[in-house]
């Protein structure tokens, strides 16, 4: 091996070691465990079985899966609808304000999700702000949490930046002159959006949607705190089975199913991201 090659190996070794020891091996272990049999006394016995996966097709678990998919799709839709105006504005904005707006967009993302959920609990909780206002107006308190809408609200607020950033990059690639040409030819803002902006920003929209979806379906904290018993998603299931029920083979099988699904979506996301950056690049 050339000197370069040896140096490369030396530089890459620690990182690769971390990946192998703490990611590859544990994930492989999970796949293996998912085929083991559950034992109440010893958690698992190395007897191969497919019953963990079979258990998954029980209506209750299918229901949880359906809730997960539903929440994922609704969150993605909400992020797309709310995210597009934001992305357009950021893409066309003068750079003086852009720094501040990006900062305000990214900061909530970087602050732990528990904190933001706490905020939502204060807003939507039984004794929270909205309910206090309703009570003051004589309408009586309502349970605004513990439903799919609350979880979607929480996840949307959390994941909006993941939609906005790729979308913004896509819109930036549309030359302003093209927008002006459309307006010069008579397009109203709505027509401009439908006939020019939307088709040309589709790659960014797809990218953002894939990213939001894949993170939404593996949510744990948001449905746990904002959905409660009524909204259970696959993430909650994994948590309970691992830390409460201690049925690790079953937990592993759920994890594998979730993993396969998420990886597929994320790979598609990374592909569209690469295509986007290749096609883009200002002239």
């Amino acid at each position: 091996m050339s000197r370069h090659g040896r140096l490369a190996v030396a530089l890459l070794a620690p990182g690769l070691a971390v990946l192998v020891v703490f990611l590859i091996v544990p994930l492989a272990m999970i796949v293996v465990i998912s085929f083991f049999t559950y034992s109440p006394t010893r958690i698992w016995v190395p007897v191969p079985t497919a019953e963990n996966y079979g258990k998954f097709f029980h209506p209750y678990y299918l229901g949880v899966t359906w809730t997960t998919v539903k929440v994922g799709l609704l969150t993605t839709l909400a992020c797309a609808v709310l995210g597009y105006p934001l992305a357009y504005m950021l893409a066309r904005m003068r750079s003086r304000w852009l720094g501040l707006c990006l900062f305000l967009l990214v900061t909530p993302l970087m602050v732990s999700s528990v904190i933001r959920i706490f905020g939502w609990l204060v807003i939507l909780g039984k004794k929270g702000i909205v309910n206090s206002a309703l009570e003051a107006a004589g309408l009586g308190a309502m349970d605004l949490l513990h439903n799919v809408t609350a979880v979607v609200i929480g996840l949307t607020e959390l994941l909006l930046p993941f939609m906005v950033l790729p979308l913004m990059a896509s819109i930036e690639n549309i030359p302003r002159a093209v927008e002006e040409a459309a307006r010069n030819l008579g397009a109203t803002p709505l027509q401009l959006f439908r006939r020019v902006l939307l088709p040309l920003s589709l790659p960014g929209l797809v990218s953002g949607s894939l990213l939001v979806y894949s993170v939404a379906i593996s949510a744990l904290v948001t449905p746990a705190l904002m959905g409660g018993r009524k909204v259970r998603m696959l993430g909650n299931l994994v948590y309970d089975e691992v830390l409460t029920s201690l049925n690790w083979p079953f937990a592993a099988s759920i994890a594998v199913i979730l993993l396969v699904f998420t990886v597929a979506v994320m790979v598609a996301y990374l592909r569209t991201l690469r295509a986007l950056s290749r096609r883009g690049g200002r002239a």
């Binding site: 040409a181 307006r183 008579g186 397009a187 027509q191 088709p199 040309l200």
Partner: protein, 357 residues
């Protein structure tokens, strides 16, 4: 459809980028806005199109102000410098875009698109996408896209500047022919004075947001009114001179020139076009006009032309342009010659100080 621009002003914070600027274009006229980068010509055009909001003044088409209208309702066609074709649409759909917005019936759209493409000589390329077209073809699609809507006014923002020279010359005569044929009023922005001279009925020469001169190509070339116009259009010898109290002679360095331009005594700028200077034997005695004795300093052979630099006794440099058919053997550096200039070819322009800021 006459265009009337009245005292148009465009300001960014406290910088006046354009104005006040006033000019009018008659129906069917081809008017060029000519000037160097940053002179405000594109900003003026964009004010007419509605992509810049005018800070002051008015723009009228057929006597009605259009400044209150948003850009998508002004009914003026804009051809962009970058063409701005819709990359996701075919040539047909690009040209049909405006018609589809207005929800014209399909047969009408097909007919008008076909007509427009035929006008620009692109029939048969309807199914292509912009990325599959050459620069010249894209430019024609951009033109056809505007023409399909039969706008009242055509605005062109340096449409040829991205093309190479040969193509540019070919396209510009096509644009002119097309415009004449359709009888549409056209406002054409360019920094290329040759283009402006070749295409326009009248030229508006602009500099630093103001109009220097408006005139036909001939007027602007032969009787420039300011030093800027003289310098920008065509090659020129610009010399500082003083009109003597008699009013008939101008002192330039050590030499004295007479001009057919009436002039007031005082400092002036003298303009002599290089192709108007005749090189003669040094002891010729001319009947009228100006004769200066000079020495050839430099000769540059350009194929079609010879560019000479003459040092005139008294310390002036003159650029002279001759056809290369003249026997060059006599024009080697160091040769003594006479430079003869007719009185009509000595133009007197106000000196920059006299113009006032």
């Amino acid at each position: 459809m006459g265009l009337d621009v009245q005292a148009l002003v465009k300001r960014y914070s406290d910088t006046v980028v354009v104005g006040p600027v006033s000019f009018a274009a008659a129906e069917g006229e081809f008017l060029s806005l000519l000037g160097p980068s940053g002179c405000g010509k594109t900003t003026t055009l964009r004010c007419i199109a509605g992509f810049e909001t005018a800070t002051g003044g008015d723009v009228l088409i057929d006597g009605r102000s259009i400044l209150g209208l948003p850009p998508n309702r002004r009914d003026v066609g804009l051809v962009f410098q970058s063409y701005a074709l819709f990359p996701h649409l075919t040539v047909f759909e690009n040209v049909a875009f405006g018609l589809r917005l207005r929800q014209r019936p399909a047969p009408e759209i097909a007919r008008r698109v076909a007509d427009a493409l035929r006008l620009v000589d692109l029939a048969g390329l309807e199914g292509r996408h912009p990325s599959q077209l050459s620069g010249g073809q894209q430019q024609r699609v951009a033109l056809a896209r505007c023409l399909a809507l039969e706008p009242r006014l055509l605005l062109l923002d340096e449409p040829l500047s991205n093309l190479d020279l040969k193509l540019r010359i070919q396209m510009r005569s096509e644009i002119r022919k097309l415009q004449r044929r359709l009888g549409k009023t056209a406002i054409y922005v360019t920094h290329d004075q040759g283009e402006a001279l070749a295409l326009s009925d009248r030229i508006v020469v602009m500099s630093a947001g103001r109009i220097e001169q408006i005139g036909t190509p001939r007027e602007v070339y032969e009787t420039p009114r300011t030093r800027f116009v003289a310098d920008f259009i065509g090659a020129s010898n610009l010399l500082a001179g003083v009109v003597e109290p008699s009013g008939t002679t101008i002192r330039v360095g050590d030499a004295r020139l007479t001009s057919s331009d009436a002039s007031v005594p005082g400092p002036v700028t003298v303009l002599i076009r290089p192709e108007r200077i005749r090189v003669v034997a040094p002891d010729t005695a001319p009947a009228s006009g100006n004769l200066l004795s000079a020495r050839v300093a430099e000769v540059v052979y350009l194929g079609e032309d010879l560019q000479l630099t003459l040092e005139v006794d008294g310390g002036i440099s003159l650029a002279v342009s001759l056809k290369a058919t003249v026997a060059e053997k006599e024009l080697t550096p160091g040769t003594a010659v006479g430079a003869w200039i007719a009185r009509e070819d000595v133009r007197v322009l106000p000196s920059p100080e006299a113009r006032g800021a």
